[in-house]
């Protein structure tokens, strides 16, 4: 199936559209092959193989947009999809913010985005990865039941636009996740570990399994604690949601139209002087890298936060048009369904100068947060979230896991109250980098 021709249907659709009375169009088709192994209960449960193809068409007429897609690349279905999108574009109403779609640009190729080991991966090998995660967890402690899996996919896409853009993309992805659940009487010890990467060699199933088991066992004996104001130390897995939320709120139409909590932060100080966030979609071999964005605009590194100050939004062509600036190359195309949004690529938060051990040891009383989502209400910025996995720290020592504990506040207050940034952190998918951060005086709801 790897020989599925996505070029001919795209060119056919473009040819049909070029003869019609429309203002702009783009056509995108993709092919992907996915192998996955699911883990459930006592071990490996199921193996899947999936082949997905589809074509999506966006048509603009008088600033109105029509979108149609089909999972069939047959001639008649491509024709019907084009016809539908054109009819819809004519029925849609003018969007005063629409200024057009980008023209062609040439960019140096970002290397290392397609791993032949994934392209040629067999199910037996995928099963072996899953088994290694389970075995590693079992070696830490036997008797768990599991959730999890391993997946690997290889995708190719082709984008053509009426403006002359013609971009081919090819990318691989591997991901692994395991959640062991241990039970001791009425107590439960459960946690998870995961990793994802463009290349298979970047994933270490043994490390994932061992980490997951050690984290799960550490969750035994969780206790409720009193409500109060305490500092939080967010480990990289938790700080990731904080920084990702900020960059999402600085992205695209919602940011440009003043609909997110970060819309009015442009040029303003939101955090300490040592807070720096870079978005870089050009890192070779990284998970969120590509030569071009979803509209064919070259990817470039973008300094988003420097010395604690917000420097830029992340634009696609539509949101850039609203603010009369150039696209920053952050268009994200949601496959062949035709939707194009905007969002971050590889998010890199600059490490600080404090060792994580020191941050913990200097904490009189606080919560070390291993897993929790700090994604707020994207409009108001207010959040109220459960600390899914965390530990009470007293006199610089990690004491016991906490349960049924919530944190609440405004996400911009969390940034404002960042006290320390660790020099260590975790790199995800060879691209994102998040350190641990200590945030003072967070309101906690417990018993």
């Amino acid at each position: 199936m790897s020989g599925v021709d996505i070029f001919t249907p795209v060119e056919k659709a473009a040819r049909l559209l070029s003869k019609l009375d429309v203002d702009f169009y783009d056509v995108f088709a993709s092919f992907s092959r996915t192998l996955s192994i699911s883990i459930l209960g006592r071990g490996i449960r199921e193996a899947y193989s999936r082949v997905d193809v589809g074509i999506g068409v966006r048509v603009f007429k008088n600033k109105g947009m029509g979108v149609a897609f089909s999972q069939s690349l047959e001639d008649t279905d491509v024709e019907a999809t084009v016809k539908k999108a054109v009819g819809f574009a004519r029925a849609a109403q003018p969007d005063p913010y629409f200024k057009g779609i980008p023209g062609p640009s040439k960019a140096p190729e970002v290397s290392g985005l397609c791993d032949s080991a994934i392209v040629h991966l067999t199910l037996e090998e995928a099963g072996g990865f899953s088994k290694e995660m389970i075995d590693a967890a079992e070696r830490v402690r036997g008797g768990a039941t599991f959730f999890g899996g391993f997946g690997a996919s290889h995708a190719r896409g082709y984008l053509v636009a009426s403006t002359g853009v013609a971009v081919e993309v090819e990318k691989t992805l591997a991901s692994a996740y395991i959640q062991p659940i241990y039970r001791e009487g009425g107590d439960v010890g459960s946690s998870y570990e995961f990793d994802y990467a463009v290349s298979l060699s970047e994933i270490d199933p043994h490390w994932i399994g061992r980490q997951a088991a050690e984290k799960a066992i550490a969750q035994f004996g969780s206790r409720r604690i009193e409500s109060g104001f305490l500092p939080l130390i967010l480990l990289p897995e938790a700080s990731a949601s904080l920084f990702s939320s900020l960059l999402s709120a600085l992205s695209g139409e919602a940011a440009a139209k003043g609909r997110t909590f970060a819309s009015n932060t442009l040029g303003k100080q939101i955090g300490p002087e040592d807070l720096e966030v870079l978005d870089d979609g050009t890192i070779p071999g990284a998970i969120a890298s590509s030569t071009y964005d979803g509209e064919g605009v070259p990817k470039k590194p973008l300094r988003v936060v420097e010395k604690g100050r917000v420097l830029s939004f992340l634009h696609n062509s539509y949101s850039a048009g609203i603010m009369n600036v150039k696209s920053t190359g952050h268009a994200i195309r949601g496959g062949y369904s035709g939707n194009v949004g905007a969002g971050p690529s590889n998010i890199r938060v600059k490490p600080g100068d404090s060792a994580l051990d020191e941050i913990i040891s200097e904490t009189k009383r606080g919560i070390l947060v291993q897993n929790a989502s700090f994604s707020p209400n994207m409009v108001s910025g207010e959040f109220s979230t459960t600390i899914d996995e965390g530990f009470l720290v007293e006199d610089g020592v990690k004491k016991h896991p906490v349960k049924n504990l919530m944190a609440g506040g405004h996400i911009l207050d969390l940034f404002k109250n960042i006290e320390m940034i660790s020099k260590e952190g975790r790199t995800f998918g060879k691209g994102h980098f998040f350190p641990a951060v200590k945030i003072k005086d967070v309101k906690l709801s417990g018993k």
Partner: protein
């Protein structure tokens, strides 16, 4: 169903058995959808899509294999069968969860949910006009309304299931969902209101909507929330409305009763069958036959759907089952296995899940509450089922003092422990509503569901707050 397609599915099942499968299931899936997105009086985008394909699932040597394709041809379906068998064989060398199913009587049937007005008979301009009317009502509500978005979507889903037990069922179901999101602004303060209406229905659902019950409601909530206060924090008695109650029932107990989570050790109630796990006032039912968004007649394993009781008067009496979980747990499948599309195997899902009504009025429920929080409108929730810890995010709330609503509150979320919370339900109202149409995510699959409850009261719930 086109006879030729039925012949194709049956030939693949026969081929699967001939190649050594002890069970073979072939599922055809087709989904035609169309949508309209309106923003501030402009129908910016109209869209449509067609998903179509075949998924093949087999048991070979005690292991599951699954493969899918978008290409509905004999050659492609045969390739998917070969891949599915290859998938199962690829993992036989590894120890793990054995694949087995319960043998049920085969079903042969064809179901088409009839509608009064087929959405495809309404031209795009007509739909745009109606959606704009609903949107306009919200925009005109107040000068503090900053943005209004209305999204309309109709979906026609065809599913045909053919398996080696002799089952061949097909079902065609239309669904409509319309949502309205309003952002209100005053200075730097921005708040949102959200409403959605959906059901297994035709376009008549849209024609019968009144702005008062839909877009105006969302606008009013967004504007009212501008003057709301952050909630207090700590442990409180809460009174929940039918939407928050539905979210609680879905997250706190519904997921824990899913048979696949139970047999795999991921549920907090896996060893509690027949035990008292909730207060006497609690009866929880999952009913796929109820006239709500999660309605269907056959599940995606071809099993006839029936209402199933999970908790009766506080006692755990049933889990939701697939063919596999019924075999492993000794239960009876009643139609709880569904798949997002041909690209996914069926897994255990809820349908329309609700807390059965009691006999109290809201006033009676409130009157004993000295200090508490009233929670209204659900945003989202999730559960760590293995620990039994759930979180529900609500749209708006009120502080209750002396049985009366006092301050309006915003950005409220609550967290609780399932087994404690179920026992702490101390009052249940008579005003059941199942009006939470939406999608539930599990194992990477998204599925149509609904949920609801009457008003009810729970003691000892952690309210997350900012003061």
């Amino acid at each position: 169903m086109v006879p030729i397609l039925r012949d194709l599915l049956e030939s693949i099942v026969e081929g699967g058995l001939a190649k050594g499968a002890s069970f073979c299931e072939v599922r055809y899936f087709e989904e035609r959808s169309s949508g309209i997105g309106v923003e501030n009086g402009v129908a910016k985008v109209l869209s449509s899509g067609i998903l179509r394909g075949i998924g093949v699932r087999v048991i070979v040597d005690g292991r599951w294999g699954f493969a899918s394709t978008n290409v509905v041809t004999k050659e492609s379906a045969e390739k998917a069968l070969t891949d599915a068998i290859g998938c199962a064989r690829s993992i036989t060398a590894y120890s793990g969860e054995e694949a087995r199913i319960i043998e049920v009587e085969p079903s042969v049937d064809s179901i088409k949910h009839e509608v009064k007005i087929n959405p495809e008979d309404i031209d795009p301009e007509g739909k745009v006009k109606r959606v704009l009317e609903l949107e306009k009502a919200a925009r005109g509500f107040s000068d503090r309304v900053k943005d209004v978005f209305v999204n309309y979507r109709d979906v026609l889903t065809k599913v045909a299931v053919c398996n080696s037990l002799g089952t061949f069922v097909e079902e065609i179901a239309p669904r409509i969902l319309i949502s309205c999101r309003v952002i209100a602004k005053e200075g730097d303060n921005m708040q949102e209101g959200y409403e959605r209406i959906g059901n297994v229905a035709g376009y008549e659902l849209i024609e019968n909507i009144s702005a008062e019950d839909f877009s105006l409601k969302a606008a009013k909530r967004a504007v009212d929330l501008l003057g709301a206060h952050p909630p207090p924090r700590g442990m409180y008695t809460v009174v929940v409305d039918p939407k928050v109650g539905g979210l609680f029932v879905h997250e706190a107990i519904g997921h824990n009763s899913e048979g696949d989570l139970v047999f795999s050790g991921g549920s907090i109630i896996s060893d509690k069958m027949g035990q008292k796990i909730a207060s006497d006032l609690v009866t929880i039912i999952d009913d796929p036959t109820r006239d709500s968004y999660g309605r269907f007649t056959y599940d995606h394993e071809g099993v006839r759907a029936r209402p199933h009781t999970i908790i009766r008067n506080g006692v755990l009496v049933g889990f939701l089952h697939s063919l596999e979980s019924a075999a492993k747990l000794g239960g009876k499948p009643e139609g709880s296995a569904r798949a997002q599309s041909h690209h996914y195997p069926p897994i255990v899902r809820m349908s329309n899940t609700y807390l059965a009504p009691g006999d109290m009025s809201l006033e009676e429920i409130l009157e004993d509450v000295d200090v508490g929080v009233y929670l209204s409108g659900s945003q989202y929730g999730y559960v760590e089922s293995e620990k039994g810890q759930f979180t529900c995010k609500v749209e708006e709330a009120w502080l209750i003092r002396g049985g009366e609503f006092t301050e309006r509150l915003r950005d409220v979320a609550v967290s609780g422990l399932t087994l404690e919370a179920l026992k702490n339900i101390t009052a249940v109202g008579r005003d059941l509503k199942v009006e939470m149409p939406g999608m539930c995510g599990k194992s990477g699959q998204s599925m149509f569901v609904d949920a609801g409850a009457p008003h009810f009261r729970i003691d000892g719930i952690v309210v997350g707050g900012r003061r």
